[in-house]
């Protein structure tokens, strides 16, 4: 029998979460012998209402209420810069609350049961045991389009060196990124203490002279991923254009839209000019933001084709975004990301 639906009987007696019976969280009427009556008011996902968990985990629930995992505010933040004030009001009512917000994660999606993707869940993590973390069955599903398959190498590339060493999401990403930082915020960049390569690999500790020289020469000019991303990562095209979004593997280098002095890996985001047209939003400020954004591909390797060969960037210019590569009818801001790497001098 498929175990994803079975509650471990032994847990019911040993785990304090079950001390007050199933109905304490799931509601319904456990006294009734009639199915309809027993299921009346049943909550399939009790932690959708954070008060269910707040009784014992008050501080975490209060913080989580404002986290991006719960509010989905990051999705609004990512696109709102393209809207006029009036358009943002339409977006909030017609799209954000009805569509984006439906995707929030409840406590149980990470600690009890795999989250449902497209309405399908693989079920309980460990017979309804409340687990601290199980990234491969939780994070991996919601972030299974881009991040996790890149991390494990299942997106056609090679696994991230950190995965090879046995690391998983929570080994780098802090509790604040999962549970929030207390008050409301709108972007993952607002969380302090986010993982950074130099946190574990500070400059100056390189074993080889070649690495030391390369790091010194590129400091402040190129991100770590520019050289250490091992290859293709997922880029998304044409979301909501009436045809459905498509994804393609790619590797794109260009200026970081948040700091144009730095070259980094860019990922194409799926919002195109016509994405919200059907909802009456033309995106008056569409050209204010580019379609390519700084990406942190989770496919890091110590050695890549770019660490092995300077000419790949500085002579062949392989991977660098060019005017010809830009998506059709894209944002005018895209052109600001183009960069031509310097030729090698002797």
């Amino acid at each position: 029998m498929y175990k994803g639906v079975l509650v471990d009987k032994g847990l019911l007696e040993s785990d304090p979460h079950f001390a007050q019976g199933c109905s304490f969280c799931h509601k319904g009427n456990e006294e009734s012998q009639n199915k309809e009556a027993a299921h009346k008011g049943l909550m399939k996902r009790p932690s959708d209402d954070l008060e269910t968990c707040a009784g014992c985990h008050e501080e975490i629930a209060a913080s989580y209420k404002n986290s991006l995992h719960y509010t989905s505010a990051g999705q609004r933040h990512g696109v709102m810069g393209r809207f006029s004030e009036g358009e943002l009001r339409i977006f909030d009512v017609k799209i954000f609350e009805k569509s984006c917000r439906s995707c929030h994660a409840s406590c149980g999606d990470c600690h009890v049961k795999s989250p449902a993707i497209g309405g399908v869940s693989t079920g309980l993590l460990k017979g309804h045991r409340f687990v601290k973390k199980d990234e491969g069955k939780t994070c991996a599903l919601c972030h299974g389009g881009r991040v996790y398959p890149e991390f494990t190498g299942e997106y056609g590339g090679v696994p991230d060196v950190h995965y090879q060493k046995g690391m998983a999401c929570a080994d780098c990403h802090s509790k604040g990124e999962f549970h929030g930082v207390g008050g409301p915020y709108t972007s993952r960049r607002d969380v302090k203490g986010r993982p950074a390569c130099i946190g574990c690999h500070p400059a100056g500790q390189e074993k080889s002279k070649k690495a030391k020289t390369a790091h010194t020469m590129h400091a402040g000019k190129a991100s770590c991923t520019s050289c250490h991303s091992s290859g293709n990562y997922r880029n998304c095209y044409n979301c909501h254009e009436g045809k459905g979004a498509t994804s393609k593997p790619g590797f794109i280098l260009g200026r970081n839209p948040r700091n144009k002095d730095i070259v980094t890996t860019l990922r194409l985001v799926p919002t195109v000019r016509g994405t919200f047209e059907e909802m009456g939003i033309k995106m008056e400020n569409f050209d204010r933001l580019p379609n390519y954004w700084d990406a942190y591909p989770h496919n890091i390797k110590k050695r890549t084709e770019r660490t092995r060969s300077c000419t790949l960037c500085h002579s062949e210019r392989k991977g660098f975004l060019t005017k010809e590569d830009l998506i059709k009818d894209g944002s005018k801001a895209n052109e600001e990301l183009l960069v031509v790497p310097k030729s090698l001098t002797k």
Binding site: T152, V158, Y163, Q164, K165, G166, A168
Partner: protein
């Protein structure tokens, strides 16, 4: 006089050495310090044996859920590289040596590979890792028979910690001769025994995987599928049966040059390992680019709807 006596002694010793080689030649693959396939019972008794390194090549999540005590996690994907549009190419030597160093493996280590036998590709991930280790200069490589599934079924010890190796600086000698380039395997057609290790549908050309451009097999290749190596329980078939299968398809001559290929260099390692390490065929090589690389070449002679 003394010199002549010495020369005579040397000649006699050489004569005996040649005799030994002639008799033991077919068993040269067995001249190792560990059996090529070890049982769970053997491994459980030898968990702490000096020089033994147990490498678990399953996904990290599976390793964390339960593994052979003391085994080290080195996911299959760590052992191959995607290069030149080929899925399972050999790692660059420096990357391979880094990996071996991180696992504390030395050329004299005895390495037992633990994997899953749930599917035919997973069965051969184990032999592909074995081939890579041997290419890297590690001679004593073994497979855990029946994989982790059998180990769990037999209710043997399971750990959920994350074992870390004492890292070392690996310094081995690459055995480059066991890896074939596209040009080498094409040059071998009609001379060497070229073995297509995919299931018959692929060999015959009625099935094809998306990343292989054309259906069919290399002209003159013979069909010897790697999924036939294991029984229904994921256990390696008896040596006599494997030997009969091999002799029936590639012939009994253990000195004959044999070249294996498949779709992407995974199944090819199944029979490579059994022919060389279990049955003692001495001159067995593998093309890691396999049909993924070969079928892109318009000059590669690929035929279908024929067994020849």
């Amino acid at each position: 006089m003394k010199n002549r006596a010495n020369a005579k002694r040397i000649i006699i010793r050489m004569f005996y050495a040649v005799l030994v080689l002639l008799f033991l030649g077919p068993l040269s693959g067995l001249a190792r310090d560990i059996a090529p396939v070890v049982s769970g019972e053997w491994l459980e008794k030898n968990l702490s044996a000096p020089g033994l390194v147990i490498v678990d090549i399953r996904k990290v999540e599976s390793y964390k859920a339960g593994h052979v005590p003391g085994s080290l996690s080195a996911f299959y994907g760590s052992w191959v590289a995607k290069k030149n549009n080929n899925t399972n190419e050999l790692l660059e030597p420096d990357d391979l040596f880094d990996l071996l160093s991180s696992l504390g493996i030395t050329p004299t280590s005895k390495v037992v590979i633990v994997g899953s036998v749930a599917s035919a590709p997973e069965q051969c991930f184990r032999t592909r890792v074995a081939w890579t280790l041997i290419y890297g200069g590690v001679k004593n490589v073994a497979l855990l028979d029946g994989g982790m599934e059998k180990w769990l079924k037999d209710k043997r010890q399971v750990a959920t910690d994350f074992s870390k190796a004492k890292e070392s600086e690996y310094e081995g000698q690459l055995e480059k001769g066991i890896n074939l380039s596209k040009e080498q395997i094409l040059a071998g057609l009609g001379k060497a025994v070229v073995v297509d290790t995919r299931p018959p549908d692929f060999f015959f050309g009625v099935a094809k995987v998306p990343n292989v451009a054309k259906p069919g097999h290399l002209k003159t290749a013979v069909c010897l599928p790697s999924p036939w190596l294991l029984d229904g329980e994921g256990m390696m078939k008896k040596t006599e049966e494997l030997a009969a299968m091999a002799a029936g398809v590639v012939g009994p001559d253990h000195a004959k040059e044999i070249m294996s290929y498949c779709n992407t260099g995974v199944f090819a390692s199944g029979w490579w390992y059994v022919l060389r390490e279990v049955l003692g065929y001495r001159n067995v090589k593998l093309h890691d680019g396999s049909m993924e690389e070969l079928a892109r070449d318009p000059n590669a002679p690929i035929v279908k709807y024929t067994w020849k």
